[in-house]
Subunit: 347 residues, 2 copies
């Protein structure tokens, strides 16, 4: 039998989603003549009078932002979910099933600074964001079954404007991805008596090969089953269900880890590294959720440089996710970079 990890094409299994990924390390050698993304590093002012997320400015909806400092949350002016929608109506025809949904969507500006991403906000600035995320889970979790917290960073990830911000979508249902992780984690607990991602964090910390950074309370790894080239999974070492359950020390530790991880991402190709990131914690619906472990996924699209991304297209959409370098190679590259942001060192 081939020893794994292997340089030959192979599949790896994602026990959190219950599906496979095809790994083709040799394929990264092929020449690239396809699409190049633009990668100009834009210089932003600390406050932009034309930005509808900056403090004191008027939004599209006509509302005026307060003169905020630190994180600022407001209702999304174009929400995908509506709170006054009826709940629970369904249509049962097996070929044409449908259900009403109720929910809400908010925007979270990470700080008043138009020019600073999470990577550059500093530990105290990121700590405020962590607290704000936790408060949102508490607040919306009281009324909804699931609260999605995520950030789309960069135009290539559909982010429609540059002021550093994330989103919060709450709903009266568990979305597909959450339902799947729920099922896989539940099965692991019932089969082994232990929590899947608590076991996994300990195993990765011991093996070290896929670890990008660690501190006392947290670990960031390129998971064994990573799909995106430089995908990472951020995990607490302790068993924690949701963001609000984190202690003050753990929140500081998380802020420290996120700042260093995002700086390494930016340093990798000396660019404002695009990604989608988001939090998965135990649902806020009534029920038993001990099988859950809080975690964050980072899904960054870049593959070879600031301008060449991985495309998840034909084979990926219709057959199976496929990657072109091993998770171990990706972790090794991220590990070898400095924690300090390239912009701060060049100043």
């Amino acid at each position: 039998m081939t020893p794994f990890p292997s340089e030959a094409p192979h599949r790896r299994f994602n026990p959190l989603k219950g599906e496979w990924v095809l790994v083709s390390p040799h394929r990264n050698l092929r020449p690239w003549q396809g699409k190049q993304e633009s990668a100009a590093i834009t210089q932003h002012p600390a406050h932009d009078p034309g930005c509808y997320l900056c403090a004191g400015n008027r939004r599209n909806s006509g509302a005026v932002n307060p003169d905020y400092r630190g994180p600022y949350v407001f209702e999304n002016d174009f929400p995908a979910l509506l709170s006054d929608n009826p709940s629970g109506g369904t249509q049962g025809d097996p070929l044409f099933r449908a259900a009403n949904v109720r929910g809400t969507a908010r925007v979270i500006c990470f700080s008043e600074r138009h020019d600073l991403t999470l990577a550059e906000l500093g530990t105290p600035g990121i700590r405020k964001v962590v607290d704000c995320w936790a408060d949102q889970i508490e607040d919306l979790g009281a009324a909804y079954d699931w609260v999605a917290i995520f950030e789309n960073k960069g135009a290539i990830m559909g982010c429609s404007q540059p002021h550093p911000h994330g989103q919060i979508w709450a709903s009266d249902f568990l979305p597909n991805e959450v339902a799947r992780e729920d099922e896989c984690q539940r099965r692991h607990l019932s089969e082994t008596g232990t929590v899947l991602l608590v076991d996994y964090a300990a195993a990765e910390s011991a093996q070290a090969e896929r670890v990008v950074i660690e501190n006392d309370d947290w670990i960031a790894v390129v998971p064994w089953w990573a799909v995106w080239p430089f995908e990472t999974l951020v995990l607490p070492r302790r068993h924690v269900l949701r963001l609000p359950d984190l202690t003050g020390t753990e929140r500081d530790g998380l802020a420290d880890l996120l700042g260093r991880l995002c700086s390494r991402y930016d340093n990798l190709f000396e660019t404002e590294f695009p990604y989608t990131m988001g939090w998965h914690g135990a649902p806020t619906a009534a029920g038993r959720w001990d099988h859950w472990q809080l975690h964050a996924h980072f899904y960054p699209p870049l593959l070879r440089s600031a301008t060449v991304r991985k495309f998840m297209v034909g084979y990926e959409l219709l057959s199976e996710a496929q990657r072109d370098l091993t998770p171990e190679q990706a972790a090794e590259r991220l590990r070898s970079l400095p924690d300090q942001h390239f912009k701060s060192t060049s100043r």
Copy 2:
């Protein structure tokens, strides 16, 4: 209960994949200040001396293409799967599972014409492509469990060069998406005694609301559960397991339907409409596959214009696919377009 389809946010269920999609029709009204794709319609010569897919030219690998006419298939110079890989070795640790894979990858040039996409190839030209696809399934299906036939069209879909071509990846395993469709179709047959997608084609044809085009043997619909804005599903009316099982008349009918569908796609935004398309038929592994129905998926990314796409990012990657117009609205728009390609009418 709200009657469905509804203009209010709701979820629809995809019985072929066993998952939901969030539909937020009101959201299409939001202004777009984000990324614009380039949409220049490039004029290509019928033969390009610098193109490594054109007849008679030398490829990256050093191989020289024959002076072919019609479809031409060759081994991919940078395959993601290798035929000399060992088969069947696995690693069983539940947190670090892996398996060897064996497979092969080919490229199919649709014709010698560097300047003609499927939309402009004409029914006889497309018929040759259909025959070639069917032959590939026969040929590779004899040695492999699954043969993936797909096309990534356009730079935005990761297509690395413009000569109209598709791909064929064969493997000794059933990829995730295929395994899921297999499970859902199998369950439907065992529960109802009928074939899921045969039932579905008949129901859509009767309802008409989501139909884009039909002919005697085929139907193209924006499925009830479409994820991409202008996604379509192409289905034979008769129960057919795989492409090689199609009669001559059915192949002509398919060529007719594909030409008209692709022309409408191009006509929608008067552009070379990008998409990923591919065939799902019964696996070629040993076994009983009566629950399968042959079908093609078209996944096009554009949303509002030739330059504004739908981004499948934060909520979509981490929670659930979300769409901004109803499948009925998308079908209505595609249905209202002419069958004749905009380039041929302007000539």
